[in-house]
């Protein structure tokens, strides 16, 4: 009709309805957007659900005793079962090797008589320094962060790894000079 043609800014309601056409136009997009948003939120929440906040695992950082408790020239296995590390003391200091074979993840064994680490799964062999020399392991054993704690004990921190093939064994925290 004549009034509606010119009235671009007019909101004329359909007879019997309290919703203007302009308002109704947004009903479906808004409704579906709200539905999609709530479904997405639910999906994200479900995904977050799968990542536990609390782990019943041994701590990543732990103290392993005073330097005097370790003999020079020995590979110490006292923490291998509980924490998965070997403490190795040389004349110039300490380093900690991660007891995980770099081939596929088994736990190697330290063979003191043969002066090497040997993995029982596929036979990977490592020198006491951690360098691989036989078997399918592609790279040396990893060293983990080892520092002196405030009370004088050695602190081993598995959350920081040092890989020889990346040149990281020169990092100060990969070796404790004591």
């Amino acid at each position: 009709m004549a009034e509606e043609k010119g009235g671009a800014a007019q909101e004329t309601n359909a007879p019997g309805s309290s919703l203007s056409r302009r308002a109704f136009f947004w009903a479906l997009p808004l409704g579906w957007s709200a539905f999609a948003a709530s479904m997405t939120a639910g999906l994200v929440a479900t995904g977050r659900f799968m990542f536990p906040n609390v782990l019943f695992e041994p701590p990543q950082a732990f103290k392993v005793g005073f330097p005097g408790e370790y003999n020079v020239g020995e590979v110490d296995e006292r923490w291998k079962d509980a924490f998965g590390v070997w403490i190795v003391r040389e004349a110039s200091g300490f380093y900690a090797l991660l007891a995980t074979c770099t081939h596929l993840g088994c736990s190697p064994n330290w063979l003191a008589a043969e002066n090497k680490f040997k993995c029982p799964c596929h036979g990977s062999g490592f020198y006491r320094s951690g360098v691989n020399f036989e078997g399918p392991a592609p790279r040396p054993l990893e060293r983990v962060r080892v520092v002196l704690a405030d009370d004088g004990q050695i602190l081993v921190d598995k959350s920081k790894k040092f890989q020889q093939e990346k040149g990281e064994w020169g990092s100060p925290e990969s070796y404790l000079s004591v």
Binding site: M50, F51, P52, L55, F56, E57, L104, G105, C106, C121, S159
Partner: protein, 267 residues
């Protein structure tokens, strides 16, 4: 309803039974002696109606079909049933898992349920590969059947995942190391694995979002290594998660064959 003459006792008893309200409520059609009643007997039964009323002769030619698809489904049902029975005696915790499996062999009557489940698993993997091979050799993946082939590939992956998750449950040396090696692969996932390519890209400035305690492998295991959480997660995936997805996809898979006119039909 065919009724014998009222002379024989058996005839009269049968007539009586089939005219009771109880019988008529259970069987809403006549004896399947006419084509109409034969069709009704199948179509009005929830179990039977999953099968087609009629099938082509080519559908039961073993030389064509090998029956491997059907065998695979049958083995899935065997695994579900034996698995359910195992669940009455197995507890998925580090404290109990190994001994419960030992007890299933030594204390539980017959002592063979775990073995039946394991043999069924091996047989199902074999039959699934043979089925895939047969479908390939008969060209039953060609248009318009490509989608169903892809659904089948996903079902194959699910079958192998069922084997993988089930392998951990006995919690012996074989189980722990096999799953350690297998799940270590998840570290290398692009973007989502902390040792994979692109992991550093998803970082908020200095804070890495994808690290050993937050990547795909962590979500799979519920921890940094294969432990109590991994055992429980794999148990839930093995008994509920993957079977539900597999059952849904199997429904799609079978539906597609039905809608194409049944197994072993011409193009």
């Amino acid at each position: 309803m065919a009724s014998k003459g009222s002379e024989s006792f058996l005839g009269r008893t049968w007539d009586y039974i089939t005219e009771t309200q109880v019988w008529k409520s259970i069987f809403r059609h006549g004896m399947p002696t006419t084509n109409r009643n034969r069709a009704l007997a199948v179509m009005s039964n929830v179990f039977l109606h999953l099968h087609p009323v009629k099938i082509r002769k080519s559908g039961i030619r073993l030389k064509f079909t090998w029956c491997m698809g059907g065998l695979t489904f049958f083995l899935f049902l065997v695994e579900t049933f034996t698995g359910l029975l195992l669940m009455f005696y197995y507890r998925p915790t580090v404290a109990y898992a190994y001994m419960d499996i030992v007890d299933l062999a030594e204390q539980v009557p017959l002592g063979v349920m775990r073995e039946l489940h394991r043999w069924g698993a091996h047989a199902m993997v074999i039959s699934v590969w043979l089925h895939m091979f047969r479908v390939f050799m008969t060209g039953s993946y060609k248009p318009p059947r490509e989608f169903n082939w892809n659904v089948g590939v996903i079902l194959l992956v699910l079958t192998l995942l069922l084997s993988f998750t089930g392998y951990l449950l006995p919690w012996d040396q074989l189980a722990i190391w096999a799953i350690t090696v297998g799940s270590n692969m998840a570290r290398a996932t692009p973007l989502l694995g902390h040792e994979g390519p692109g992991a550093q890209l998803l970082a908020l400035g200095e804070v890495p979002l994808v690290h050993a305690g937050s990547d795909a492998r962590f979500a799979l295991l519920g921890g940094r290594f294969v432990g109590e959480s991994a055992l429980l997660r794999f148990y839930v995936l093995h008994c509920l998660g993957i079977p539900l997805v597999a059952a849904t996809l199997m429904a799609v898979h079978f539906w597609r064959v039905r809608k194409d006119g049944g197994i072993s039909g011409p193009m």
